[in-house]
């Protein structure tokens, strides 16, 4: 059962919470447009000395993500960023997977490099004229990683599928989001590319970003002082942010400023996707007295 937050209750919720995890798109901003109250809320929580982290399925590196946030006026540091590329790289390091074939934008290679993981990019194997039978497989590659790429080609998909025809090569993706909002439209998210490869290879990808909990598990390893009971996840998407928070065993707030409507929340039958609380926007966190 979910509860619509009333403004009095929010104050006491903020009081009890020591660690806040924020999704960004649809919570702090919507595309190019900053959401009213976002900057003030983050500043207020920082003044209250709360621990703040920003967890995104975006495959930018933490450094790039931090820059983006600072450009928007948020006073944040790299250590507060949890991007899916960073989560994937940490996962590989911890599981001793140190040779990757990736199809991604520039953020993922930066994080892989930071962790000392060897990688090659799908495009390196694309020969011209294209001949799948002349491609030499690099036997050192242990896993494939898919992340949202602003540009990929048919040949990249062919190369990735070729590597995955070997069942020993593991199959990972940063996230499975079917769409990516831009302005009043949406375009294919990483999930679209994942579906293409899953269909071609008849294999299922292991997702490392939300709603999987790796990002939170790794965070607690870096910050053992974080307690589930004092942590709150704030997001706008039921099947990534809220499912993630629920799976981590932490309380969740769904904001209506992004992709989810009040109707969807009320009608939701899947307990994994029902937020603990919901409210209109982040501005509701601001105490009028502040």
């Amino acid at each position: 059962m979910t509860t619509k937050l009333n403004l009095d209750f929010i104050s006491s919720l903020i009081e009890k919470t020591k660690t806040f995890l924020f999704d960004c798109d649809g919570v702090l901003w919507l595309g190019k447009h900053q959401i009213d109250g976002a900057l003030e809320t983050i500043a207020m929580l920082q003044k209250m000395e709360k621990r703040l982290f920003f967890i995104s399925n975006n495959a930018l590196s933490r450094r790039m993500y931090c820059e983006k946030m600072r450009e928007r006026g948020f006073d944040v540091s790299v250590e507060q960023m949890i991007s899916s590329g960073f989560t994937a790289s940490q996962y590989f390091k911890q599981n001793k997977i140190d040779n990757i074939l990736c199809l991604s934008g520039p953020g993922v290679p930066e994080e892989l490099k930071n962790q000392g993981i060897s990688f090659r990019r799908a495009e390196e194997f694309v020969n011209q004229p294209f001949d799948i039978n002349k491609i030499e497989i690099d036997p050192k590659i242990q896993a494939v990683l898919l992340a949202k790429a602003d540009y990929y080609t048919y040949y990249d998909i062919a190369v990735i599928s070729l590597y995955l025809s070997n069942p020993k090569v593991l199959f990972f993706a940063t996230n499975n989001d079917p769409t990516f909002p831009i302005g009043s439209r949406f375009i294919p998210g990483c999930g679209s590319m994942v579906s293409a490869v899953e269909f071609a290879t008849q294999r299922k990808a292991t997702i490392l970003g939300k709603p999987q909990i790796h990002g939170f598990t790794q965070l607690k390893q870096r910050h053992p002082e974080i307690q589930k009971e004092e942590t709150l996840m704030i997001g706008d998407r039921l099947d990534t942010d809220i499912q993630f928070g629920n799976s981590c065993g932490i309380q969740t707030i769904c904001l209506l400023s992004g992709v989810t409507s009040e109707e969807e929340i009320i009608q939701c039958k899947n307990p994994e996707l029902i937020p603990t609380y919901y409210t209109e926007t982040i501005k509701d966190f601001l105490d009028e007295k502040n």
Binding site: F130, I132, N133, A149, D150, Y151, Y152, T153, Y154, Y155, I157, A158, S161, L162, S165, P178, T179, I182, G183, R185, F186, I187, P188, G189, G191, S192, M193, V194, S195, A196, V197, E198, F199, A200, Q202
Partner: protein, 293 residues
């Protein structure tokens, strides 16, 4: 059901059918690799006076390309005896009397045929050359139909554009969505390359839409064949193919029979597993086509 055919069965099999439909990829060839017995069998059947037709799903080729490729390997076919998904798509558009503009994710094959038949269309590649972002590009309201074909030149931008046309209706309403075929992969030599089914899946995840498929397994092509040969008896027609979800399913949907050759994407163990589980199986199967010589 799923009877293994060897040389001793060849005369019985040949006598059972008046018409044979041949799939090409995985049956006659896989890229440059020729499969044993295929050329000789086609020549033999033609000599015996059987009606021999080609029914292929590849949508990057036209009837003329295919006729030329076959002739180079000593298989001679009249143009009308080659059924490929590109030409079937044109037949389908004519059947539904489609008159408006078309958006095509694809090149060669389908675009040549659309041009030849006087259809008004624009390709994803042409729109890409306008250099506008997916956020800013104008969606042409004249476009009432999206065709998703085979295109090795496709990329993320073109898929994104296709999704925009599928997800956002024109003033007249949602656009028609057609695919010549939805093959998952094509065999090339010993490996495979992604087929259009892969990109149909990509668009389906983003837009939740699935196209009308014109070629196998849809029985549309057999309906075209029956129109040409009204006296043909479906149980005396056999498709020679290599895939469950195109060739064998097409046979079931059309009421004809099927011979699955193990030179393509299907193995004997896959057939036996399907027998056990009660899933789709061919009427007959064989190692390769030398068994019918």
């Amino acid at each position: 059901m799923a009877q293994l055919i060897t040389k001793k069965d060849s005369q019985t099999i040949l006598d059972s059918f008046d018409m044979f439909l041949f799939d090409l990829s995985g049956v006659v060839w896989s890229g440059n690799k020729m499969h044993p017995g295929a050329v000789e069998l086609i020549q033999k059947l033609q000599k015996m006076g059987k009606k021999v037709l080609v029914a292929t799903n590849n949508s990057s080729e036209t009837q003329i390309n295919i006729q030329e490729k076959l002739a180079k390997k000593e298989m001679n076919f009249d143009i009308e005896d080659i059924y490929c998904s590109t030409n079937a798509t044109i037949d389908y558009l004519k059947k539904i009397n489609y008159q408006d503009k078309i958006f095509v994710l694809g090149q060669k094959g389908i675009t040549e045929e659309l041009e030849k038949n006087g259809f008004n269309f624009i390709t994803a590649q042409e729109v890409e050359q306008q250099n506008l972002s997916l956020e800013d590009v104008d969606l042409d309201d004249e476009i009432g139909c999206v065709i998703i074909g085979t295109d090795q030149n496709l990329n993320y931008y073109q898929i994104g554009l296709t999704c925009l046309y599928l997800a956002f209706p024109s003033k007249k309403g949602p656009r028609l969505y057609i695919a010549p075929n939805a093959d998952r992969v094509y065999p090339v030599g010993d490996r495979t390359i992604p087929g259009p089914g892969t990109f149909i899946a990509a668009c389906q995840t983003t837009t939740r839409r699935y196209p009308t498929i014109v070629a196998k397994p849809d029985p549309f092509i057999f309906q075209l064949i029956q129109k040409r040969f009204p006296d043909i008896l479906p149980h005396r027609v056999c498709i020679v193919g290599d895939q469950f979800d195109t060739d064998i399913l097409f046979a079931q949907n059309s009421g004809i029979r099927s011979l699955c050759v193990l030179t393509g994407l299907t193995s004997e163990s896959m057939i036996l597993e399907n027998v056990k589980s009660g899933s789709i199986v061919p009427d007959f199967y064989c190692e390769d086509l030398t068994c019918l010589l």
